[in-house]
Structure formats: structure tokens, C-alpha cells
Amino acid sequence: MIALLLRDLRLAVRAGGGFGLGLAFFLIVVVLVPFGVGPETELLSRIAPGILWVASLLAALLSLDRIFALDFEDGSLALLATSPLPMEGVALIKATAHWITTGLPLTIAAPILGFLLSLAPEAYVYLLVSLLLGTPALSMIGTFGAALTVGLRRGGLLLSLLVLPLYVPTLIFGAEAVRRGADGLDPTGALMLLGGITAGTVALLPFATAAVLRINLR
């Protein structure tokens, strides 16, 4: 399993792997927002939590269709299915690799971009914590969506339509935690729900993903 993780990470950072694409997209979306809404610091700082969360959601979405599609096309997925690795493990590793190449860099970059949106100083720590808790769920749900659409031509668009509604709970509690942090309220409730969503998806979705992959490989 570690071998699969290392291979996926290595593929991501090599030429054509798309590492940094999501991060660059995140950067551009967040930088575009002040141009769109104008230079009102007060308005920007009020919408900053929502913008940062929506942008990281979209950035995570960008690389989802590559999770299984490339392995499906070159036959690796069928070979992995006949290997001793359990498909549930493959699903979990794929989601982990996606998180390390997308969710983690987004989390680290978000505070810097919060500065561009004049996010309230008290909220930085909650932005970091909420993204750290929430982005694994984005990767796991996305991996499930990628398994559903593997082998479909133009599956990318369908994937977005399937996955975005499932991202709603994560978005609500993630942005809420940052907003409450910015307003000086107690964000513990929202953070705990966010952690709960992540724990739930990581516990259950590998099994669903594996079942869907087996059907799609037939």
C-alpha cells in the first residue's frame, strides 16, 4: 500500500502530473474576487471565509477525474484489482494521495490568501484547522465520485455534478467555523461536526468506492 502511495505521489510531481495545478487555481480564484467585488475591506473580510472555502472546494474538484481515469486507461486498475491489495485499501490510498497533493497544499496556502482578503486576524487559526479537518472529506468523497465515473467518456463534468452537492455539508461547517472564529464566537461545534463528517466519510466511503470500482471493471 505504501508502494502505491509513493508511486502516486511520484507521478503527481513528475511532468504532466498536475501537482500545483489545484493550488494555482485556488490562488487565481481568490485573487480575482477582490477585483470583482471592489476594494471594500470590510465587505471582503466578511465574505473571506466563504470565498476561501468555496475556492478550495473548486480547486480540490479540479484534479478529481485523474484519480482513477489514468489507471483505468493504461490497465493498471485491472492489474491492481488482481493484486493482493484490497480494493478498499486502494481507494483509501488514492484518496490520501489526492489529499497530500491537493488538500494539504491548499491548507498551507490558505492563510496567505486570507491576508489578501483581509480576513480577521482571529480567524487564521480556525481557517487552518477547519481546512485541515475538512479537506480529507473532500478528497474521500471525490475519490468515490471518481470511481463512479471511471471509464465514462467526458466523465469529468458528470463527476462535478455528482460530487459538488455532496460537498455541501463540509462547506457549510467549514466556512461557519471560520466565520465564528472571525466574529470572536466559539467555533467548537462547527469544527466537531466537520471532523465528524471527515471521520464518517473515511470510515465508510472506501467500501463504497471499492464496490463501485469492481462493477466498473467488469
Partner: protein
């Protein structure tokens, strides 16, 4: 080592082959013959466990099957050595470096070891795909057209490896091929096992 009894296979919800039975002992090869579309690939995928059988039983030692088709699972951004050692690690192979060395020699890939997968020719990729079989150490091989895009010399390399390494160490193989590999092996013509056109089965496929 591989025992198949009364096996029926479906492809896309349509039964293609029915009531196939055969036995392959250690050190033996079974060659599948038959015209295009008869169901050679379907049979091999069913044997490898990639798709469920409609009925019948497949018996072989657990975790010993390996499948290969025209898609070799080669990553363009990884070198030949990295591609092979990945599959070795996935299969929990120990002594990776010496096994890797032997496989590279057996398939004439030693000079290409540091080349990226994406820069290989079609025949070289095929050889790399077959070298994977030498690395993972599985005993029961299901090979779907293993010699496509190989030149005559490479076909001989593959047949030599199969005979002198794999079969000599007690492995066995089921091979679908249209060419003569130069192996002394029984052939199974699939034409008599073709399912009747109105045969029913696999009715749940419509919902999947």
C-alpha cells in the same frame, strides 16, 4: 493447479460461453483458440476474477492468479525499473533487486532500465508488461494476446522465459493467442462452447 468446471461467462449482460471445463496441471500451458469475438478475453477476465462467472467453478490456489492484456499498466512518467519495482512492492516480493535484474535480462530490457515508460516503443512496452509477470512471482498466469506487437526475437524471448523459468518452477498458464509460440501445449478451441443466441442470464446488468 487450475481446475475449471462447467464455467459460463457473460460479457455486457450477454452470455458468450457456456459449460467450459478443463484442468491445467503445474508446468502446463493451455492455449485458447477461436475466431475474434468468441470470448477469449471474457474467459480470461472471468478466470482472473475481474468479472463474475454466470455459473460454474474456478479453482486455483488463492492469490496466485495474474492477468495481463494489451494494456500493460505502464506509467509514462516512471522509468522501466520504477515501473517494475512498483509491481514487485505491491505483490510483497522480497529480494526485489535480484529478481528485477533477472527479469530485465530475460526480456532484454537491461539497456533500457533508466528510460521513461513513455519513451518506449510499442514492442518494448509489451516486453516490460511481460517482465512484470516475471517480477511478481504469481504461479497461474492468464495471458490475453501476450505477443501483440512483439517481433520474432521477442516472441522467442517470451516463450523461453515461459518454458525455462515459469513452467520449470511449477507455474502454469492459460494463453489466448493467434500465433505459434513454439510451446508444446494442448489447445482449446472455444467455438463449440459458444452460447446459444437466446440464452438468458446476467439480468442485473441493466441496473448497473
Amino acid at each position: 493447479m487450475l481446475r475449471v468446471t462447467g464455467l459460463s461467462c457473460v460479457r455486457g449482460g450477454v452470455p458468450v460461453l457456456s459449460d467450459i471445463s478443463f484442468v491445467v496441471a503445474p508446468g502446463e500451458v493451455l492455449i485458447l483458440r477461436g475466431p475474434n469475438g468468441i470470448g477469449k478475453t471474457t474467459l480470461l477476465r472471468t478466470l482472473a476474477g475481474l468479472q463474475p462467472a454466470l455459473s460454474g467453478e474456478i479453482g486455483h490456489p488463492e492469490d496466485q492468479g495474474a492477468y495481463t492484456s494489451h494494456a500493460d499498466g505502464i506509467k509514462a512518467a516512471l522509468t522501466v525499473t520504477e515501473n517494475l519495482s512498483f509491481w514487485a512492492d505491491v505483490h510483497g516480493v522480497t529480494r526485489v533487486s535480484s529478481i528485477l535484474q533477472e527479469a530485465l535480462l530475460a526480456f532484454d530490457l537491461a539497456d533500457l532500465r533508466d528510460r521513461l515508460g513513455g519513451t518506449l516503443s510499442a514492442g518494448q512496452k509489451r516486453r516490460l508488461g511481460l517482465a512484470r509477470l516475471a517480477v511478481i512471482g504469481r504461479k497461474v498466469l492468464f495471458l490475453d494476446e501476450p505477443t501483440v506487437s512483439l517481433d520474432r526475437f521477442s516472441v522467442k524471448l517470451f516463450a523461453d522465459w515461459l518454458r525455462d523459468q515459469h513452467l520449470a518452477q511449477g507455474g502454469c498458464a492459460v494463453i489466448a493467442t493467434h500465433i505459434d509460440l513454439g510451446l508444446e501445449a494442448p489447445e482449446l478451441d472455444l467455438t463449440p462452447f459458444k452460447s446459444a443466441l437466446d440464452a438468458s442470464g446476467g439480468s442485473d446488468e441493466a441496473f448497473l
